[in-house]
């Protein structure tokens, strides 16, 4: 009966209860959803870092990373490889040659790290091959008698490996974006023509469009007309094993897009067989072995095992290579905590405030209940139950809304397209798939219940202080 009465009492002032419940719902939802988005972003970031940027474990000479000395090779490579592959938890290994050099095109140049790989082995460890921008080529799959290089989107743009062309497709898409017909007509004559520099293209467009048209549509036309040049040439220069300046022409095999401009800018992947001819190193000389594990969770274990097996080498896992990744995961844990504390505090204040109002309003009724024989324990329990019901209804509603919305967005993701540039500069994807662990959900539920119970105590104690004879006299 007390449970039933408490439950009915919750709905006594429907509007007020609903306001409280809705604000709890929004609070809980905001908290959980915010955490889910952060969580998703971090998980994607870590995933991307591991799959596209660094892999799980690097093994190299202890001094190698100081200045990437070309002579600091891995000795007994075959034997090392076998030993690593035999270590439990290791999934695959790729051996790399790392050279610091410059990438040059006719107009631009950039400092890069040239990475010599065996594409087949590399594909087992990294997923970079899956990030090729459609239409720009592939990950060393098409055979060629030229040297090939696989570069990032940001570097391709930096090196100006771009061409401009107005063709049927571009004209159609411009028409679809409501470019006036008279402007379109002016562009038709140079349909099919290619421009390898932005300047040449601009000059050509300037020639046919009026100043006003240029101002209004120039940017749009440029945006539609550009594309990456495929199989374009670039020169890679570096010092060989004899410290002599060397270099060669490489064609772009493909361009990758990994949502991390720093890695996109700094890395050029080439086939080791092409590179070794230029460096003067033997075909089986490598600077670094990168390791993929079956399970990220075993990172520490396998690192320790490999360190034990190769005392003379540097064995570093991803947490050591990119401490910010580990730190980020750590920091986010703390942020979740702060987030939840704030929300739960708001919840507590809401409950305390509402329930104090309830007790005050019901002074007379509570006095009557004590008069007719409802003891303090029961009055206390009834007020507690009311507060708990109130917080539970809000809590449960918040959880359900969060669960549904996370479920909906987890598969489709949320596109923060308008912030894409900022996100990518930090290495985050702009398309985020919120995710939350069941354990977090359970923790939040438990915390809501605890908060609900704790914040009921004060109003319930207030209810006990009522003197029935006084309470009944108040009209």
């Amino acid at each position: 009966m007390i449970w039933k009465t408490a439950w009915k009492n919750v709905w006594r002032n429907k509007v007020r209860s609903l306001v409280v419940i809705i604000s709890i719902t929004i609070g809980i939802f905001g908290g959980i959803f915010g955490v889910a988005v952060m969580n998703g972003a971090i998980a994607q970031r870590v995933d991307a870092a591991l799959n596209e940027e660094i892999s799980h474990i690097h093994i190299n000479d202890p001094a190698f990373r100081d200045n990437y000395d070309i002579q600091l090779l891995i000795h007994n490579h075959e034997q090392v490889l076998t030993t690593i592959l035999e270590t439990p938890g290791v999934n695959s290994v790729s051996s790399r040659t790392l050279i610091t050099g410059m990438a040059n095109t006719a107009t631009k140049s950039a400092g890069v790290q040239i990475i010599g790989i065996d594409p087949e082995k590399e594909k087992e460890v990294m997923r970079l091959n899956e990030t090729t921008i459609p239409g720009t080529g592939d990950f060393f799959e098409t055979a060629s008698r030229h040297n090939l290089a696989y570069i990032g989107e940001a570097l391709a743009k930096e090196l100006n490996i771009i061409r401009y062309r107005i063709d049927e497709a571009v004209l159609d898409s411009l028409a679809a974006q409501e470019l006036p017909v008279e402007v379109l007509d002016k562009l038709v004559p140079f349909s099919g023509k290619r421009f390898t520099s932005e300047k040449a293209f601009k000059n050509e467009v300037k020639g046919v469009l009026s100043m006003k048209e240029q101002r209004e549509y120039g940017a749009l036309i440029k945006e539609e007309a550009w594309s990456f040049r495929t199989r374009s040439k670039m020169t890679l220069t570096f010092l060989d094993s004899e410290q002599m300046q060397t270099g060669a022409v490489f064609r772009i095999a493909g361009i990758f897009d990994i949502k991390n401009s720093i890695f996109e800018m700094g890395q050029v992947l080439v086939k080791n067989e092409d590179l070794s001819i230029l460096t003067g190193l033997a075909a089986n000389d490598y600077h670094q072995m990168i390791v993929r594990l079956d399970d990220v969770e075993s990172t520490e274990e396998v690192t320790a095992a490999l360190s034990g097996k190769f005392p003379g080498m540097e064995v570093m896992n991803w947490k050591e290579i990119q401490p910010d990744l580990a730190m980020m995961t750590d920091m986010v844990q703390k942020m979740y905590a702060i987030f939840m504390v704030i929300i739960l505090a708001a919840l507590a204040f809401g409950i305390v405030n509402t329930m104090l109002m309830v007790v005050l309003e019901r002074t007379k009724e509570l006095g009557m209940l004590t008069a007719i024989g409802m003891n303090k324990k029961r009055v206390f329990r009834m007020i507690m139950l009311e507060s708990i019901f109130l917080s539970m209804v809000g809590g449960v509603a918040g959880m359900i809304v969060s669960k549904i919305l996370i479920g909906l967005t987890a598969t489709r993701g949320i596109n923060f397209a308008s912030y894409a540039e900022g996100f990518e500069a930090m290495g985050f994807a702009a398309h985020i798939y919120p995710s939350i662990s069941t354990s977090f959900f359970i923790t939040v539920t438990v915390l809501i219940i605890i908060t609900g119970v704790l914040s009921s105590i004060y109003p319930a104690l207030k209810a006990l202080k009522l003197d029935p004879s006084e309470a009944l006299r108040t009209e």
Binding site: M1, K8, E365, L369, M374, K376
Partner: protein, 228 residues
């Protein structure tokens, strides 16, 4: 058989600077089955007296014995329990639980006393029938008239078969028709169940129905008459 003895009870309120001698040496006995009215002008101490009898308030001095048990000897939790088992209350402003139906309001104390569900239902129905509300058992108080609400309150007060029922101006908010109905019902329950009723009132028609009339003034009993 005495159900209630009041021995030289005083109540002095000291709250503000002024000392109020609300009850000033009242001694009264009540037998089982009495139907007694306490009358007197406003401020004469009726409510104070009833509250002390009901254990809602403690006398400054004097003794109140319910069924030979001294209320002063009970700790506050024991006192609440004692009230639940022995005393029924009817209030001027009905004071039903607004979220519960008539039936649930009547059942409330029985459920606190952990009565068996079947017995509880039976007693509730019996009482609601006795107060003439068998067709309104599922109505909430807001859907009932004042008279009907007060009849539910009487049924509630009787639910746990108390030693006596205290009613502080039960008809003050009722029209004359409802007052008459309520009094008739109370009288009938008094005769049938043998339950003692003690009620305060200002209403002459109510006084007429009482078989004992106790008049108080300035906290003192000035007359105590029994009729037959």
């Amino acid at each position: 058989m005495k159900v209630l003895e009041i021995k030289n009870v005083h109540k002095i309120y000291n709250s503000s600077e002024v000392k109020v001698h609300a009850v000033n040496g009242v001694s009264l006995d009540f037998e089982k089955g009495e139907f007694a009215a306490i009358v007197g002008p406003s401020g004469s101490g009726k409510t104070t007296l009833l509250n002390m009898i009901g254990g809602l308030d403690t006398p400054t001095s004097g003794e109140i014995m319910v069924d030979h048990i001294n209320l002063a000897g009970l700790k506050s939790s024991a006192l609440i329990d004692f009230r639940m088992r022995n005393i029924g209350f009817v209030f001027q402003s009905y004071n039903l639980i607004p979220v519960l139906t008539a039936k649930e309001n009547v059942e409330f104390i029985m459920s606190l006393q952990k009565w068996d569900k079947k017995e509880r239902d039976q007693r509730t129905l019996e009482l609601l029938k006795a107060v003439g509300l068998e067709d309104r058992i599922n109505s909430r108080p807001s859907k009932l008239s004042g008279g009907q609400q007060q009849r539910v309150a009487v049924a509630r007060a009787l639910a746990s078969k108390p030693k006596f029922v205290l009613a502080d101006e039960p008809t003050a908010n009722l029209d004359s028709k409802s007052t008459e109905t309520l009094l008739d019902i109370m009288e009938e329950l008094n005769r049938e169940e043998g339950i003692t009723f003690i009620f305060s009132t200002h209403d002459a028609r109510v006084v007429k129905k009482a078989r004992r009339v106790i008049t108080v003034e300035d906290g003192q009993v000035i007359s105590d008459e029994r009729k037959n």
